[in-house]
């Protein structure tokens, strides 16, 4: 069974703090990993993706994520958060050659100004 786990349902930080949102996956084969952000009342928006190459990938608005095959992880990080980063963040995975994305349950990030 292919699964994506986000262990933290809620994370609260102060503006200017760094943050790491965790994602672990259980998948076989070649995998394509991505992060999406959902602001209240909106659809999901793409942040970044990893398939191969440099395990640290850069995304929009200063976000980056690091792939680790040994830990089966793809954690999202930001060095200095802004109040506008408050949203729900979803990790997603799909096998290459497949169309069926699997999403984690999401992590709600609250940034206190």
């Amino acid at each position: 069974t292919q699964t994506v786990s986000q262990s933290d349902a809620h994370v609260t930080v102060f503006e200017g703090d760094s943050v790491e949102l965790r994602c672990n996956y259980s998948y076989g084969g070649s995998i394509y990993l991505s992060w999406y952000i959902q602001h209240h009342g909106r659809g999901l928006q793409f942040l970044l993706k990893y398939y191969s190459g440099n395990p640290v990938v850069q995304g929009v608005n200063g976000f980056e994520a690091e792939f680790s095959k040994s830990d089966s992880s793809f954690h999202l990080r930001k060095a200095s958060v802004h109040w506008s980063d408050s949203a729900v963040y979803f990790c997603a995975a799909v096998n290459t050659g497949n169309y069926k994305y699997v999403f984690g349950a999401g992590t709600r990030l609250k940034v206190i100004a």
């Binding site: 999406y36 659809g43 999403f103 999401g106």
Partner: protein
């Protein structure tokens, strides 16, 4: 750039009623998806369509039908609305397999 439009934004129906949600995209993408998002939970795949005239069942297809009328549109029908399926339904499209998903803003379903 493109956009995905979902209509209606809010849908209220009676228990047992047949209800249809619509999705249009102007990205010229081949693949379209319907996801259900329950409060505080992740997304679950209901149906997807790889190309025009294709339909594939997701993990949550029971109780739903879908129709890919043309490349740009993908409809979802709740065959008999139940109170336990009040949720937000999200439509998405992508250029192909394992490509970035682009989402609409959702249809919130309420069943009375």
């Amino acid at each position: 750039g493109g956009i995905i439009t979902q209509t209606p934004k809010f849908l209220i129906g009676q228990e047992g009623q047949k209800l249809t949600l619509k999705c249009q995209q102007n990205f010229n993408h081949d693949t379209m998806y319907w996801y259900r998002q329950d409060s505080g939970k992740g997304l679950r795949l209901i149906y997807y369509s790889i190309t025009e005239n294709d339909l594939q069942k997701g993990d949550l297809s029971e109780g739903y039908d879908a129709s890919r009328e043309k490349k740009s549109s993908f409809s979802l029908t709740v065959t008999s609305a139940q109170k336990n399926e009040m949720a937000v339904f999200l439509c998405a499209s992508s250029q192909g397999n394992a490509e970035t998903l682009y989402f609409g803003s959702g249809t919130r379903l309420t069943v009375l």
